[in-house]
Symmetry: C2
Subunit: 200 residues, 2 copies
Amino acid sequence: MARLTRAESQARTRTLLTETAQKLFLRDGYHATSLEKVADAAGFSKGAVYSNFGSKDELCLVVLDALYAERITKIVEVFTSGTTIDERLQAFEVYAETMIGDAPRTQFEVEFALRARKDPNLRAELARRDAAVAGALKGLIDQQTEELGLTPVLPTEDVARALLSLGIGLGVQRFVEGAPPIRVLTDTMRVLLGVGLPLR
Amino acid sequence: MARLTRAESQARTRTLLTETAQKLFLRDGYHATSLEKVADAAGFSKGAVYSNFGSKDELCLVVLDALYAERITKIVEVFTSGTTIDERLQAFEVYAETMIGDAPRTQFEVEFALRARKDPNLRAELARRDAAVAGALKGLIDQQTEELGLTPVLPTEDVARALLSLGIGLGVQRFVEGAPPIRVLTDTMRVLLGVGLPLR
DNA sequence: CGTCCACAGATACCGACGGTATTTCGATAC
DNA sequence: GTATCGAAATACCGTCGGTATCTGTGGACG
């Protein structure tokens, strides 16, 4: 490996830490992932973490930036796949299942959202990112209703919120009971969008 | 105060601890409530807690028993109030708002549900209580559909799950963003139950 | 009524956590 | 070549859940 300048070296450290943190956060959740584990796994000491990030929450926000960006990309992909309502709903259902079935990820995100309640700064930071996801989802639903001539029974903003809430709620309930079926979400979406239910 | 027998004394200690724990859990959440704080607030030492409860989670389950019983009672009240659909929906909306608006309670319950993922025993215990709530809700919805002649667009079991999920999801989102409106839940319920939306 | 034991509860301690203060040591500027 | 600056290492703090140990008293028994 070529000799690195100071700035390059620090940037590399920061990248290694965020990548390692993302892996551990997504595997074990927020609480179970200590900064020492992150530092160790990345080959550094805890001092390197605090030299690059102000706190565990700050590191977490950096990780979430990547996750939320990826999420929006995925959702856009889903809603631009195929050409008919059914094709897109089908793609959405596959996506929803993989998303809600990803327990560690849900654990991480919900754990972190709960922290926001007592910390105004964290709350504001998280709200910005959350609004971006909710806004993107609403926009995509709007586009669908126009392009495919749907007639949602609720304002599309409320439909977006309902879908996000159902995703969170189902994910949390799956930690407890076996597995509330994904159709609770997908069927509800069809109803709210004014699309008929599939034969079953 | 009259002289207490040994058994009476211990029962009183246990009651004081559970009452204090419930108050603190509902005020500050699970993580922020240490057993030492509970013991102190109840006028005992941490030893008293571990003499009466095997772990923090066990104490938590005892507290949750009371909370879930109260919750079922409240829901039954709502669904037996008034005589028309609208009266009952109205009562339900008031109840849902107070429930979802109770951030500390939501925080506590979700925090605890997240813990269940890694602990099979805890998961089983929590699943039993959760199934009781879900079952009660489904039963009440069934009763409504029969008594008032509703035609739900989804199986009532799915309707119950959707309502519980929406409650959890909206509660969590409220920790982050200002306040996703409660109508996301109540309107969705009306749609799923096959009841018309109110004029707005 | 005196003796002794079982047990509720107090006390002391453990390792792990997030965070802070201090130190070290090598890249960079002069 | 030397001084400096800062990234990273190290040492430490208070708090947490949990455990091991001790203590003091209620209650059974001779």
